[in-house]
Symmetry: C2
Subunit: 436 residues, 2 copies
């Protein structure tokens, strides 16, 4: 009945819900998107349910553009809390759940990133994780003295060096470097301090980090890049990989490729763990689940819908929303590589513009499922047991309600099948992920 | 008996104690310098005693050099927690006390600083403060792609523009910009969003900040620069100024100058509040206080003592520590402007090298007092009532013990004289400081 291998589950908490119309739902509490206590309460709920980790995606700008004109003011994705401060506050109110925050290698310096995640690892007793991103939007560039984002090649070259520097800084001090020898007057053993002295094409960083070795040794590294360069960084460094796959076939290809790349770099053990993102609409019956879905979809303002498509399709406001997607007129070379699968799906299905933005709203670029606990867990189990996933990154359409659905429906069914833990195996994120 | 005007009091918490030999004291718990719970407990104590704020000084490097050779390993100032993550965690465990963290304008980008302090202000319900520093050490430069620090003129020019950008970003959204109009589908009112579009010599930052207006409107600004450029930034922006004065005459000059500069810029009201740093050695009797002082001073390793002087005097290890300070051989142009007063004091007093490093150890660059509650509060009251101070930034030689001394000795005496509050007047730092 129960299997030795169990799923990893993360809860993605940004914006207090991912659905573009979540904030219009009667149950959404206005202002919860910037309310610390609202996030804290969901984090505690996720910890009570023994989830591996909570996660904050991030960008260093209001990424939306006001195209079509007026669209931006219909979108809740303008105001948020900063992930490292927020997770540090949550760390003080929790004891076991992993805490994963995004930071960009394009618009940060490695010393700051190394230091802040080390500090979070200390504060949380070994529960910190860094989701490494390279940032994709020009809006971010405009906040950091540039007129456009770095080109992909340069972004990834910088990212690769950035991660090396951060890991080097995390290794500045051996775990037993600080001797605290009061009688002899020696605070640390000089032989156990390693000054980095990094000099590379992007960074010159002397070190050492003004911290000591963290409870996990080094915080967990998470990565989500789907491109060739992103997969290489993930294979080399990541403990967890967030993936986006529309089909189980694509997911299996990605899974096998990542595991093979990691093995090719000499890595052994379970990492990198592959956790595709999924958005769940669940009810005791299929009808109840469908009604939850339909309620949210009916609240999508067409302007907000068109803004959702802007990144992939440009401005479609000159077209009839109930007419076909003008595939031939779309800008070439999507900004986000994960947008390609979505457009292929739209083309195959002959979707109208409205149907396409409804599709994006339902699960953003990821997969969404509408069903009963049994049907959804059947699907998750199939992915988990057929080489497509080691677990899932749950991206709820509405955060508190989505976590409640996990509690009420999904986790009991997963546990009935022995697919998810009933308690934490230790206190660090590495232990929870089975990587300690 | 009680006066309308009362002191502001801050507690400076870095390193869990400022004395270079604090960690060798029998009461110092090894590892408390990187232990979140140890800081949290002192913060709660400070809040129970109604202090205005806790404060973390900061630098983005191990600032000490290993000169004389081996000195660095005798110093506890190598390992610490990062202030913004630490204060965010403390925010979740407190409800009223102000939370002030240092961030450098030389080794940061304004968008990150604006965002993180805004986030801390949200998380804490309006208790965030930013201590603006320009960073003085080459060690920091070496961690950020440079070989030496920026020259003073450039540092301060950058700082002035940096603060303008941060304040502009904090004003991106009016307080009532977010309408949350579920029925109409409008999340915010476009007329209440102000895009910064800053283009200056150091920074190009478009904005807006991806936050909403914070509980305080804008976090409190703290400054500590003693130079002419530092005073100008303080006079223009600061709500609180940390000053370093060895004599009441110097303190009065500084106080009057700052207030006059602020008035000259059209500022009215109590700010900037001037809070000189002081280090207290207090006991029920003078003998008890002196014994506390002597115990710590006796624990100073000569190498650690010489390292304390390195910043001001260069490497003095070739000289007899019990011989005179070789004033004529010292490097010209002290790195820190506040070091000048200290050297003048040493020259006037004909101090030996040992006596000078003992003087620095006792109160770093600030003033220290050894006495009974009555004698110390007499001194504080005289400064407070004769135009030298609006309050004090307490820099304890040992943190937990120093806060306990405040509780046991200083605060009861201040309250007996009506010089310090018995409860918080509100919940934000601005309210606590009397600036709301």
């Amino acid at each position: 009945m129960s299997t030795a291998r169990q799923m990893s589950l993360g809860l993605s908490m940004r914006y207090h819900g991912y659905h573009v119309a979540a904030w219009r739902h009667p149950d959404y509490v206005p202002g919860c998107n910037v309310d610390f206590s609202a996030y804290r309460d969901v984090a505690r709920h996720a910890e009570a349910e023994k989830l591996d980790m909570i996660f904050f995606a991030d960008g260093v700008a209001v990424r939306g553009t006001d195209t079509p004109e007026g669209a931006l003011s219909h979108d809740m994705k303008n105001a948020e809390l900063e992930p490292l401060t927020l997770l540090s506050a949550i760390a003080a109110c929790t004891s076991d759940i992993g805490l994963v925050a995004t930071a960009s290698t394009t618009y940060n310096e490695p010393y700051h990133v190394a230091r802040k995640y080390a500090s979070l690892d200390h504060i949380s007793g070994g529960r910190a994780g860094w989701n490494v991103v390279t940032s994709w939007s020009d809006q971010e560039a405009l906040n950091f003295n540039r007129t456009e984002n770095l080109a992909r090649e340069e972004r990834y070259a910088r990212a690769a060096e950035f991660v090396d520097v951060v890991k080097g800084l995390w290794r500045s001090w051996e775990a037993d470097a600080f001797t605290h020898d009061k009688a002899g007057g020696q605070f640390y053993d000089p032989a156990k301090l390693h000054v980095l002295n990094h000099k590379g094409p992007f960074f010159q960083v002397r070190g050492p980090l003004n911290s000591c070795r963290t409870p996990q040794g080094e915080p967990v590294i998470v990565q989500a890049g789907a491109s060739n360069q992103g997969r290489d960084i993930a294979a080399r460094h990541a403990h967890v990989v967030y993936s986006v796959s529309q089909t189980v076939e694509h997911a299996r290809e990605f899974y096998a490729d990542l595991k093979a790349r990691a093995a090719g770099m000499g890595r052994t053990g379970a990492a990198p763990l592959i956790m595709p993102g999924i958005t769940l609409y669940v009810g005791a019956t299929q009808e109840e689940a469908q009604a939850k879905f339909d309620t949210l979809q009916a609240l999508i303002d067409p302007l907000a819908g068109l803004a959702l498509l802007y990144t992939f399709c440009g401005d479609l406001s000159g077209h009839d929303v109930d007419g076909p997607v003008p595939f031939d007129a779309l800008p070439q070379g999507g900004i986000i590589s994960i947008g390609a699968g979505l457009l292929a799906e739209a083309k195959a299905g002959n979707l109208t513009i409205r149907q396409l933005y409804e599709r994006v709203a339902a699960g953003f670029t990821g997969r969404f499922l509408i069903g009963t606990p049994e049907s959804i867990v059947d699907d998750m189990q199939m992915w988990f047991e057929t080489g497509a996933a080691d677990g899932f990154n749950i991206c709820p359409p509405m955060l508190a309600q989505g976590m409640q659905d996990m509690s009420d429906y999904i986790l009991p069914e997963l546990r009935r099948r022995g697919l998810f833990r009933t308690d934490y195996p230790g206190t660090t994120l590495r232990e929870t992920l089975g990587l300690a």
